[in-house]
Amino acid sequence: MDIANVNPVALTALAIGLIGLVCGAALALAARFLAVHEDPRIGQVADILPGANCGGCAYAGCADYAKAIVLNDAAINLCAPGGQEVLDKLCAFLGKTAEAAEKKTAIVLCGGDSGKAPRRFAYNGVADCAAAQAVHGGDKRCGYGCLGYGSCARICPAGAIEIANGLAKVHKNLCIGCGACVKACPRTLIQMIPVSRTIHVLCRSRDKGPVVKKACSVGCIGCTRCAKIADDGQIAMDGPLAVVDYAKPFDNEEAVEKCPTHCIVRA
């Protein structure tokens, strides 16, 4: 066959087609003999998850969580940033039903800003709460209060924590509920609570009343008034400290009003 006589279009098509065929065949063979089995659902679940990689589900990122859901039957309502929407999609995809965990928000249980809770020495060093805590036990006179060096704010993936006047504050509207800040606080002042709760005791000091009074003007002195008002155990005394039981709904303005040191607030 003389190449020159062949229709150039046909020749081109034929040649390229043949090359394609050879390549395709090679690929097909490779795919058959070198195949690695992988559950395709992992990828699909990962696609459903928001991809924030916040770690709030306690897995190392969304891909890891997706793997756990598919392979280890992990609970599917752990994704805080995804909320109801992601949960619905996961339910539909996996054919499961799960109750949405109520949306949670972080709260800093300390109200002692620089004006209210004085420092006991001048700290000079790394501006990080854990580092400050390790140098002579933290510079706040109160051994339980917020140090205000912003470890929680730096770790927050949503930028929801602000340090104002030496005190960390969570902006509820921005918080995605991942809980990263809880672990970041060396004084375990941050708690995840249901968003619907509005009455808080902003103090975690386990010191006795007189000691608290010296260290902070808005600390809980353990007077027990609030515990008497919340008669169903919504606020209970844990030693010298009043603690809100967030499992029980509670909304009584009286507790806020009657607190002598104003450490109970509505927020």
Binding site: F121, A122, N124, G125
Partner: protein, 345 residues
């Protein structure tokens, strides 16, 4: 409790140690400025008003650029200026410019050096490349003509080597002349007799402002060594490698190559080896790393200088910039053996 209550000013509490050597970044930068003074005086002597003009323009625009960048970034301005690093950058950049360069180009180079090569990374300590060299390379590539147009050092008629008189405005650096001659296949235009060597040592030749006087630069380098601002590793390895490399090249082909002392005394080698390749931020941290760095600079410099086809007669700034780029890898490769970790057999 009583003790702290009665105490009105709070004690300072920090992590140990509670003693300090007193060394500080501004101190180091000030020492560098002092060390650059002899070269500055030499530049003024050889290039007159142009030296004063370019140094003033570069320093002023570097400091200005630093202040503007810090302000635009919303970061403290005063603290950044107080460390004197912008002044050092400005002076070094000026030292790397030919005396005839228009002032506006010098401003552009300064802004590039500070704005792009330094502050874009976050300021002193974060820049991977030497800002002054980045500024010079930027100008060299953008305005190759103006960056390689040399006024004769003092008077055009003084520019003659071995009976060959050069046009004052084109390739009047010894390195450039030699490279042109080699490219054209002409005989070497510079004879390194005693008198020429002395002139080169003093700085009586064409070149950038601060690079001509090897003697002044050596003085400054000695000061830095004495003040322990730099260690001997980089300059010695750099200059040693250049000497060795050019020595071998010269011994192999004395007719078409220049002897080692020519390579040591000409171009920006002295300035580079003592002041640019010793910039702490952009060089390795270990002594072993510094040795590797110095040798690398030497090899690259000589490669660029010797290979005939190269576009540039001088390779110091590119060599140092290239080595700056591999510093992280050098640091990784030259980590010291940990005390208590047995040597691998």
């Amino acid at each position: 409790m009583t003790a702290s209550d009665s105490h009105t000013t709070l004690y300072t509490v920090s992590s140990s140690p509670h003693a300090h050597s007193g060394a500080s970044v501004p101190c180091i930068m000030f020492d560098v400025l002092v060390a650059l003074t002899p070269a500055l005086l030499a530049a003024v002597y050889f290039f007159g008003f142009d030296a004063v003009r370019l140094v003033a323009v570069c320093v002023a625009s570097c400091v200005g650029a630093e202040a503007l960048c810090r302000k635009a970034m919303g970061r403290p301005v005063k603290a950044a200026l107080a460390d004197l690093s912008a002044v050092v950058t400005g002076l070094l950049l000026a030292f790397n410019l030919p005396p005839s360069l228009p002032s506006w180009m010098a401003v552009l180079g300064s802004v590039f050096a500070i704005g792009i090569a330094k502050q874009a990374f976050g300021g002193l300590g974060y820049n991977p490349f030497n800002p002054a060299l980045a500024g010079r390379a930027f100008l060299l590539i953008s305005f190759t003509g103006r960056m390689t147009a040399w006024h004769a050092a003092r008077l055009p008629e003084r520019w003659s080597f071995g009976g060959l008189t050069m046009d004052a405005l084109t390739s009047a650096t010894p390195l450039g002349m030699v490279k042109d001659a080699i490219k054209a296949g002409d005989p070497l235009p510079v004879a390194m007799d005693g008198a020429t060597t002395l002139r080169f040592l003093l700085g009586d030749m064409g070149g950038c402002l601060g690079e001509v006087s090897a003697l002044a630069l050596l003085l400054g380098g000695a000061y830095l060594l004495a003040r322990r601002c730099i260690s001997w590793h980089v300059p010695v390895c750099y200059l040693g490698t250049v000497a060795l490399f050019s020595g071998i090249h010269w011994a192999a082909n004395p007719a078409a190559a220049m002897p080692p002392h020519f390579h040591l005394l000409t171009g920006g080698l002295m300035l580079g080896a003592w002041f640019m390749a010793t910039d702490m931020v952009t060089t390795p941290v270990t002594n072993k790393g510094l040795v590797v760095f110095g040798i690398g600079c030497g090899v690259l410099t000589m490669t660029i200088r010797i290979v005939a086809g190269g576009a540039y007669p001088e390779g110091v700034s590119f060599a140092i910039l290239l080595m700056n780029a591999v510093v992280p890898l050098i640091n990784r490769a030259t980590r010291p053996r940990l005390f208590g970790q047995r040597r691998k057999a």
